[in-house]
């Protein structure tokens, strides 16, 4: 049963990610991207990583996608952009991407993925375990990410301010 769920979910994820890159309208791309994020969150739930599923929905589908939608509406990109006429870039991109996938899968065939299973705690994805790990072992990166957010906020304000008339 659960393997069928996994395969259907994977197929839907790949299809919606493909629709992001082939749909002509930017708004449609964004909506398919939201769908992709929700499907990836469903994968996280399947992997017993509930905390990451929630954070994925809140951060990606909530914050980042609102930013994208806001920018697309703000820039008024409703007219379709003239894409390339020839199909040569598509062929080149698909061939190079496919060869990358071939390299990874052939390396995967040789890889020995034995599971060490030294610690067999299967509840690591829950909030209590992940939170205690985050605030004990990874406290410094956590604080540094707050500094990163502060710098990003200051940078966005600096970029978005009105240009002063140079005298």
């Amino acid at each position: 049963m659960i393997d069928k769920i996994f395969y259907v979910l994977s197929a839907l994820t790949i299809i919606s990610a493909t629709l992001v890159i082939i749909s002509r309208h930017p708004i449609r791309s964004i909506l398919f991207l939201v769908l992709t994020f929700f499907l990836v969150s469903a994968h996280y739930v399947l992997l017993n990583a509930q905390f990451l599923a929630l954070v994925n929905i809140v951060v990606y589908a909530g914050a980042i996608m609102v930013l994208f939608l806001f920018v697309v509406m703000f820039l008024n990109l409703n007219e379709e952009m003239v894409e390339v006429k020839s199909y040569l870039p598509w062929f080149a991109a698909v061939i190079s991407g496919g060869s990358l996938m071939l390299i990874v899968t052939s390396a995967l065939e040789k890889a020995v993925l034995t599971s060490p299973q030294l610690v067999s705690n299967y509840n690591i994805g829950l909030v209590e375990n992940l939170g205690s790990v985050l605030y004990r072992e990874y406290l410094l990166p956590m604080e540094l990410s707050a500094v990163l957010f502060f710098i990003a906020m200051a940078g966005v304000m600096l970029l978005g301010r009105k240009e002063r008339i140079s005298e």
């Binding site: 992997l47 951060v59 966005v156």
Partner: protein, 110 residues
């Protein structure tokens, strides 16, 4: 909660998750290479980041080590900051060039 093995670890080998993340990453990469609209290129970078996140989470869950999921958490934090700054840059370029076509951006060279 009791510490029982989730059903998926016995039903699905870890290799399938690696394959799924690779396919998602390649889809994002193809999108970066062929699209002209810079906002869609940005969205394809988000797809690639999500593929890497899925890979890290599945490895962390299968090998029952919390480090991977913490790394995904930080990746999301960095992605949020990156999107905010990147979209601000795109809006500023649009104000100057009145286009989001990536071919127009080569006028920026200085």
């Amino acid at each position: 909660m009791e510490n029982q093995i989730p059903e998926i670890f016995n039903a699905i080998p870890h290799t399938h998750y690696v394959l799924l993340s690779t396919i998602l990453f390649v889809v994002g990469l193809i999108g970066v290479m062929i699209r002209k609209n810079v906002i869609i290129v940005f969205m394809c970078i988000e797809i690639m980041l999500n593929a890497v996140n899925l890979m890290l989470t599945s490895t962390s869950a299968y090998y029952s080590h919390a480090g991977g999921q913490i790394m995904v958490f930080f990746t999301m934090a960095v992605a949020a900051a990156e999107v905010a700054v990147g979209l601000a840059i795109i809006v500023m370029i649009y104000k100057n060039l009145h286009s989001t076509n990536i071919d127009v951006f080569q006028r920026l060279k200085g």
